[in-house]
Point group: C2
Chain length 350, copies 2
């Protein structure tokens, strides 16, 4: 009964956010307490939609909304004591990236909430619940545009994903020390959905909406992964007003940034994280070694410009075997703790 | 301080699920307590993917997974005392349907959880986080299939949605007694995303996955809306093993069901719900009056076959002004209570 009383006490404390950091953090084996949750869209523009054809002709024509970004959020009790964290998924994926891992463990989304952070998961514009602009596809169907105007859809195959995501040296061979739960890789393959980013205008509306979201939240940390890994910086180059931290997980870093751009980016604390086995997979689409080196050079440039920038190259820190899917690897919560500590030290105590 | 103690007591009771029905129900102005949450996929088949073209050629070819259904769930403490409820959205929409309403109120998803129900929100196969099979589009792009093989994408326009969803007699005129929050209709338009169901094989994999999900949950209530309104029945005709209730919200009911099919469907309690103004909008795509009449005839047939079937035609119950988007209307929680009571009486007390 004493144990029950203690449990009730702790739970109530967490629920009401009466205590400080240590007790307000929700243990992952306890029920999750949410102060508020929901979803909304950022941005979106109205345009004349395609004329429906064939079986859908009865729908008639009119306006449609495009370029809106869907965002799903959870705020724990006391969440206003921390900076919100916005997580944006990579190529051929959706916000599912941050949820339950392929082998059924807790993802970074819920874990960050349990660590007291308001979490915002955004589906990239043209993906998942954000929808996409169907105009070109419908125009080709209607014969008013050539087939060549269709987008190059990226549908990453199981075989290509295996090595690009660095699960092993060749499909389906796994690294002996690999952290990705390869026994559940089929569940990752189900997350991989067609990437229609080739439909997007420039600048990518996801960048614009991320900047707008950070502003709307009156200060947020932006985190991107892979395809979206540099989106936080792209957002900051558009409007950094609301952006308090830039987190780049396993992503290409551009090598042609101007001094002015570096100077702008140097205003915001920056964290870059890379996993293991960068040189142990074939070079397909990109070289992970060169990708890492470009990000390292970027971190150095930001540092040289007076910024606070840090590279966490996990093998150098003694953390071995991580794949490209850090948020789903078996040690994902340990890596989350590194990021949370970095936010505490470099963003919140600033 | 007495108030605080009471709050702590109630919150802890809800958190730990120590109490019965009355206190376990979470008030909507309180933090939400979740026993467990997450996401997963149901089904999915492996097929040879399209050869990447142009800028994506480097991705190479290989296998992709298609026809999987993405499901996001929340289970409140004590949720095992109730049947899970699976909600499936309609045409040109995603599971966003059941979340925060366009004007920022609580949706049915969270409300059902607060009422003690495990809730499963599924994105239809070929929509949102479930992804779609890009093969045909990529084949047309590559010149190996004719443009005519492209799907008829449904991209419902603002103007068409206004009257089909029965917000008013003509765009942008609203019904004076309308329950839809028309001042926030732009936020609904952002939820409307391209419908690629024309890509799907027959039977629709969403039906198959809904049946599989109900079985996996060892008994669930299936609820569909509009395009998916009869999906619960389609799932039951494939495999009713796990299906404990069929809820059809504002949807076409087929008129050509065989006696054997009616007999199968009559094994499971059935609820059909329709809103107001069925005859007050132009006939575009469908006649709401005929749609309602077909569902009424369906309910009568199930009843005649010895089944437990009920039509809730809201205006006949004195509830006026409801649109097609019942779960987003201003009285959405009142309508949710009608459904919850029906589940209690017809499914759980059975």
């Amino acid at each position: 009964m004493q144990h029950l009383a203690l449990t009730v006490g702790l739970a109530a404390a967490a629920l009401l956010g009466l205590h400080g950091e240590a007790t307000a953090q929700q243990r992952k084996d306890r029920p999750l307490v949410i102060q508020s949750q929901g979803s909304f869209f950022v941005g979106g523009e109205v345009k004349k939609g395609p004329a429906p054809t064939g079986a859908t002709a009865a729908f008639g024509a009119g306006d449609i909304t495009v370029n809106q970004m869907y965002v799903q959020y959870q705020i724990p009790p006391g969440g206003d004591k921390h900076r919100p964290v916005v997580m944006v998924h990579g190529c051929c994926l959706s916000s599912k990236t941050w949820e339950t891992t392929p082998d059924g463990r807790m993802g970074w989304g819920e874990y960050f909430v349990r660590k007291g952070r308001p979490v915002y998961l955004a589906d990239q514009v043209s993906r998942a619940r954000s929808g996409f602009d169907p105009s070109v596809i419908s125009a080709v169907k209607a014969g008013t545009a050539p087939a060549s105007s269709l987008p190059n859809i990226i549908a990453a195959s199981h075989q290509v994903a295996w090595t690009i995501f660095r699960f092993g040296p060749s499909y389906p061979k796994a690294f002996p020390d690999g952290q990705f739960p390869v026994e559940a890789v089929d569940e990752l393959y189900k997350q991989m959905i067609p990437d229609l980013n080739a439909l997007l205008p420039n600048p990518n509306p996801t960048w614009t909406q991320m900047a707008a979201l950070a502003r709307q939240l009156r200060g947020a940390v932006l985190m991107g992964h892979s395809e979206s890994g540099f989106f936080p910086q792209q957002a900051a180059l558009i409007d950094g007003t609301g952006i308090r931290g830039l987190i780049t997980i396993e992503a290409p870093c551009p090598e042609d940034l101007t001094a002015a751009q570096i100077s702008t980016l140097a205003r915001t604390p920056t964290l870059v994280m890379f996993g293991d086995h960068l040189e142990d997979v074939p070079v397909v689409v990109l070289s992970w070694k060169k990708t890492y080196e470009a990000c390292n050079a970027y971190v150095q440039k930001v540092h040289a410009a007076g910024g606070d920038a840090q590279m966490m190259y996990l093998p150098q820190m003694g953390i071995k075997g991580n794949s490209h899917m850090l948020m789903q690897d078996k040690n994902n919560l340990r890596l989350a703790d590194l990021i949370l500590d970095w936010i505490d030290q470099h963003v919140e105590k600033r």
